[in-house]
Symmetry: C2
Subunit: 188 residues, 2 copies
DNA sequence: CGCCGAGTTGAACTGAATCAAGAAACGTGG
DNA sequence: CCACGTTTCTTGATTCAGTTCAACTCGGCG
């Protein structure tokens, strides 16, 4: 299994060779073509992912339309984390927006690792701390900024997304319609 | 230290008497009078809290006005979790809305416990899982429901809040002005 | 009492959504 | 490699949910 996974985990905890020997076989690599679903709404999320390459979107359905919650790419985490944690059918779906390769570990395997490898329990805690603070920042921004402010912040923070994913998904991620997004673009 | 803390932690993990003997002395009880600040904006959050009694609000300042992110009461968790995790000055503040007693543990003490008591590392992970899924639900609801829908959901889910805290804070928590909240009330 | 913050109600305003119609970009098969 | 259909993006006109501003009521408390 790729050094990417080991390297990524090692950013959070010190991983001995013997730890890695336990963990390594549990990860597998999977591929998805553009447009394919990695997780569907209604299914229980069985995997936690690390992105090798490609871009994916996390979203949910609200009546007729889709609301985007985030994107994953590079070597970031991915997966329907809510369902992965609660073991209930996922309200979120994940779709590959480009051909993608991901590493993944199954829920039962991760539980075994937590049980056999105490340092990995810490890794789980640290990842959750990171996810929680990222979501807290997003929540504060969505609640207090106007559409225009959110658009400008995205420009400053992750302009590259504009090249990677269709604007309609970014618009949805920012909590506005594609029309509003397009008008904000025209302004600057 | 109160059985409340032990009982609360025991809902997540099996706690032996020897574990408890390590953990127990690290918790202390503190009191705040109505209106007092438990955590101020700009300070680094040093404690993680369990509420013994009273109600508190978690909020942040956006220019002139305050945006409410949540309430704590009963035996729920409390604290400026973002700053507690990141060790950076808190963007969030916590204020006692009624006379309150809380149990708390300091950040350094919790780190020592994580190091000495592996089962508690799991407790930390499980709490974060819970906090993250709660925030995910809130994020989805704030992004996809109208003011009226959010008002109705709050009524169904936690009507008791109306008796506990001023309406202006609930309005802010639901992402609307006090005027809009009042008009929605009048409708039903 | 009289003050002050909280809640209500009305009227005017506005940011963003919706509806609609073209233009541009994309990808698929011949 | 081009042609055609589909999706995405843009632009304009209209509408609407919710904010803002303002005036008034109510209840608690010095």
């Amino acid at each position: 299994m790729s050094q990417i996974v080991r390297h990524k985990i090692s950013k959070y905890i010190a991983l001995s060779d013997s730890d890695w020997a336990i963990i390594q076989p549990k990860w597998e690599e999977v591929s998805f073509t553009k447009g394919e679903f990695i997780t569907r709404e209604g299914q229980i999320e069985d995997y936690f992912y690390i992105v090798k390459n490609g871009v994916q979107r996390l979203y949910f359905n609200k009546e007729e339309n889709e609301v985007c919650l985030g994107f994953s790419y590079n070597h970031s985490w991915s997966g329907g984390y809510e369902s992965f944690i609660t073991r209930k059918p996922s309200r979120m779906a994940i779709q590959a927006l480009s051909n993608s390769q991901l590493f993944r570990i199954s829920h039962p395997d991760l539980q075994k690792i937590y049980a056999n490898c105490p340092i990995m329990e810490r890794w789980g805690r640290l990842i959750l701390e990171e996810l929680l603070t990222m979501r807290a920042t997003r929540e504060m921004e969505m609640m207090s900024f106007t559409s225009e402010e959110r658009y400008n912040m995205l420009l400053k923070r992750s302009k590259h997304l504009l090249q990677l994913v269709p604007q309609k998904h970014i618009a949805s991620y920012l909590g506005m319609t594609p029309e509003t997004f397009s008008r904000l673009r025209a302004k600057s």
